[in-house]
């Protein structure tokens, strides 16, 4: 296999996306990604993720190759109403979790109905 081209390929990570009301939670599988090098940005309502993966090859003769190795990239159109300054992300064991909080003004609010 042409190992020198591996880092040029990018892959689309599988994700779970959960709207929890106060925030949107995005969980992405990024096995092999270097946690310190992951870039998460939010611009014009679009959250972009780039998780670089260091090139690696198995030594010797390849017998079976079921997946390729390369950086992960994916973007999510979330729209307005999010507080970009409070977006947080952490990566553990090859799983990236991104918390995107809504602006307080647009969070769903439960109104208590008072009885007279």
């Amino acid at each position: 296999m042409a190992t020198e081209t591996q880092t040029e390929l990018t892959y689309r990570p599988n994700v779970d996306i959960c709207d929890c009301g106060a925030e949107v939670l995005i969980v992405a599988d990024v096995p092999g990604a270097t946690p310190d090098a992951i870039d998460v940005s939010f611009d014009d309502g679009v959250l972009s993720v780039h998780a670089p993966v260091a090139a690696r090859t198995l030594p010797g003769r390849i017998l079976q190759q079921e997946y390729g190795i390369g950086d992960y990239r994916r973007s999510f159109k979330l729209g307005d109403g999010f507080d970009a300054s409070l977006i947080s992300a952490e990566c553990r064991r090859g799983v990236l979790e991104i918390h995107v909080p809504r602006l307080a003004a647009v969070r769903p609010r439960k109104i208590a109905v008072r009885t007279a």
Binding site: V15, D16, D19, C20, V30, I62, Q64, E66
Partner: protein, 158 residues
């Protein structure tokens, strides 16, 4: 697949996702010995396997798992990987007493138990198999049994 937006948008987005998946499957390097009868994407975890003079090396992507979550054994001429990956609950508990009302827009990450059997082309020394799991990537080194290792024959000159 759950709709992420209302109206025509989800269909277009789903179509694009399908194309992305197809493109990824086409651009991913195919196995040297052809595609297996069962599509590899249905097998979990996907593996890459190589053979050096000393060992058979198996690499698998297992995001979210700890070393203790994976059971690795050698049975006959097969390496067996077993384990489980827990998914997120449908309704994660909120801050209050009642579970928060949540909506899942995408659930692409699989969960549950898995068992993957990988045929080893040569006899290996099961007592010396080593594995490490770093950043969701499992690497298993199966040293070849002495009789399976290449032997260099010295040629004597008379």
């Amino acid at each position: 697949m759950p709709a992420f937006h209302a109206g025509i948008a989800p269909r277009l987005e789903d179509l694009r996702d399908e194309f992305d998946r197809l493109w990824t499957s086409l651009t991913a390097a195919p196995p040297l010995h052809g595609w297996p009868a069962t599509p590899a994407e249905r097998l979990f975890p996907a593996v890459n396997v190589s053979e050096s003079d000393e060992a058979i090396l198996v690499e698998a992507e297992l995001p979210g798992l700890d070393a203790s979550d994976v059971d690795i054994s050698v049975a006959g001429d097969e390496l067996v990987l077993r384990g489980s990956r827990t998914g997120r609950p449908e309704q994660p508990a909120g801050n209050g007493e009642k579970p928060a009302a949540v909506t899942w827009h995408r659930r692409e990450r699989g969960s549950g138990t898995f068992e993957r059997r990988i045929e080893l082309p040569v006899a290996v020394d099961a007592t010396r198999v080593e594995a490490r799991l770093v950043d969701g990537v499992l690497t298993v080194t199966c040293p070849k049994a002495p009789q399976a290792q290449p032997r260099k024959v010295a040629v004597r000159s008379s």
